[in-house]
């Protein structure tokens, strides 16, 4: 006799972002010469690696492609229409996304997950909207970042978690509500947590950090110092002169803009209390 056992929708738990989001909104460390002397080189290396690899773009591309597909399959009433399966009004759903990475040679059509690596992500729909956290992992994911006229061979291997949120009224804060499938994700604040190895042109960097990509391309790196709290380093990729520090004494202004400059290459920050160097 045939048997049937009805399933229940198994929604896997998403990584927690509460503490990370709070740390971005309220950095508690008081940046000093000693602190910067201890972390600046590591911070600079991470900044360069992020800037050159654009790993966030590679991950965002995958998520946005899926979102666009969902949006195209959602009618004006908010029903998810899946041909052959039915129409689902404002459904709860789980998507297990698989992506074969493009590899280092875009002309090589033979690239597959075995040679170029892959990304596996989980996206959850809550009443038809996308829950703010998308997460998963990359397995030896190879991709090329185009910087100027150079294609830099990049690779990421490790865990991925991305939180999407609207800018909130309070400076540095973002919302934690589900996102409509029709809302352009790239217009939102994307807060990443990467736990893995990021490689650019053979140079490997262990990364266990959170960084944030804002609309307009500004990137913020959350730097946690343990018992001394955390601060946020802000930079605008491609414009080496635009760098800032946000800490307990240098909060964002009412327009959500950082107020204290900091140039890592020149080993100098201009804080409210005065300049520090290391």
């Amino acid at each position: 006799m045939a048997a049937s056992c009805a399933e229940t929708l198994d929604v896997p738990p998403a990584p927690e972002f509460e503490d990370v989001l709070a740390a971005y909104a309220n950095p508690t460390a008081e940046v000093s010469s000693a602190i910067m002397a201890a972390v600046a080189d590591e911070l600079l290396a991470l900044r360069d690696q992020l800037e050159e690899s654009e790993v966030f773009d590679e991950i965002l591309d995958v998520i946005v492609d899926v979102q666009v597909e969902l949006d195209e399959n959602t009618d004006e009433k908010g029903n998810l229409v899946v041909p052959g399966l039915g129409t689902f009004p404002a459904p709860n759903a789980v998507l297990e996304i698989s992506h074969n990475c493009p590899g280092w040679n875009p002309n090589d059509a033979g690239d597959s997950a075995e040679t170029s690596g892959s990304v596996q992500l989980t996206m959850v729909l809550n009443l038809g909207d996308i829950r703010p956290v998308v997460w998963g992992e990359a397995a030896q994911c190879q991709f090329s970042a185009i910087i100027g006229e150079r294609a830099l061979q990049s690779k990421y291997h490790g865990e991925i978690a991305v939180h999407f949120g609207h800018e909130a009224d309070s400076p540095g804060s973002v919302g934690d509500e589900p996102i409509s499938t029709s809302e352009p994700l790239r217009d939102l604040v994307a807060t990443f947590i990467l736990l893995g190895t990021l490689e650019v042109e053979g140079k490997q960097l262990e990364i266990r950090r959170s960084f944030r990509v804002r609309d307009g391309g500004v990137i913020e790196i959350l730097w946690e110092l343990g018992s001394e709290g955390s601060f946020v380093y802000v930079f605008n990729p491609g414009t080496g002169s635009e760098q800032w520090i946000i800490d307990a004494n240098c909060p964002r202004d009412e327009k959500n803009e950082p107020t204290c400059g900091c140039k890592l290459e020149e080993r100098e920050c201009t804080l409210i209390s005065g300049s520090i160097s290391w």
Binding site: L85, G86, P91, S98
Partner: protein, 300 residues
Amino acid sequence: MHPHLRKHLLVAVLCATSVGASMTPSKAHAYHTYKERLLDTTAYSLERREFRLGVMKLSYGIFKYLQFSTYTVPWLAGLFLDEFETVGSPNIEFKSTLLNRKRFALSVSFELVWGRVSSCTSPNREADVACTSPEEFSAVDWLVYPISVTSSVRINSWVSIHLGAKYTATQAVGGAQPVDTEVSGSAVVDMLQLYGMFEWRLSRVVALTLTTRWLPYVSQTVVRGELVIDEDTGAVIGIEADVLDDNAFAVIPGAVFSWNRANIRLGVGYGAFFVEPVGLVVPASVLGYVSPELDVFVRF
């Protein structure tokens, strides 16, 4: 399906029914007697070599206390609905009266229903442009297998009470290949139905019935599909779907008229429509809270 073939099939079904009605009757008669009991929503089944030929259901007593049945409407769906396969929805049901004492009877039944619906999913369908290639169609196959346990208690010669439970498991598998997207998947839903029928025989011809049906449990339905975004990206999607509400119910007063061979069963009640042939339920709001019962059959 070709119109002529439809007509021939309809004629064949009608002929089968009328031939059954004109055949030499066996010892069994259809009057409400001590031996002849109601068959639907009860624990009783046909005698060996006894037939029931009806508009809704065809049955045959293979052995004493074991009957084979098939519901006609799912088959006929193929004649009237273009979306169905030509053969409609093949279905079989076995019912066995395991225990039949003077005042108590107990039966189990098992049914299997298969069907396929296909529809045009071409983007041009709204412009009345017919689908021309197989890639523009999507199809859903379903398999339904209800299993029932029913008990019947004879209070006295005129009054009986019938109580039962039906567990219906459903699986649906669909596939589609629209223009630039490939989707396929499956869904599973299980449900439990409890039912009871009060039977009051007014005469050997007329029996009044009051049937109640209740759906205390419907499993969460998860539809699973595969979504191809592009050549490098895909997703397995699991969607929680609310097909039915828990606690759907129906209360149906009715009557069964039984003559020498001919029988009519009819009733109209309030609530959801419990579709006996497939063990499924149409929500009450769809039919305006009208829950009908109807069958015309001969038994010989």
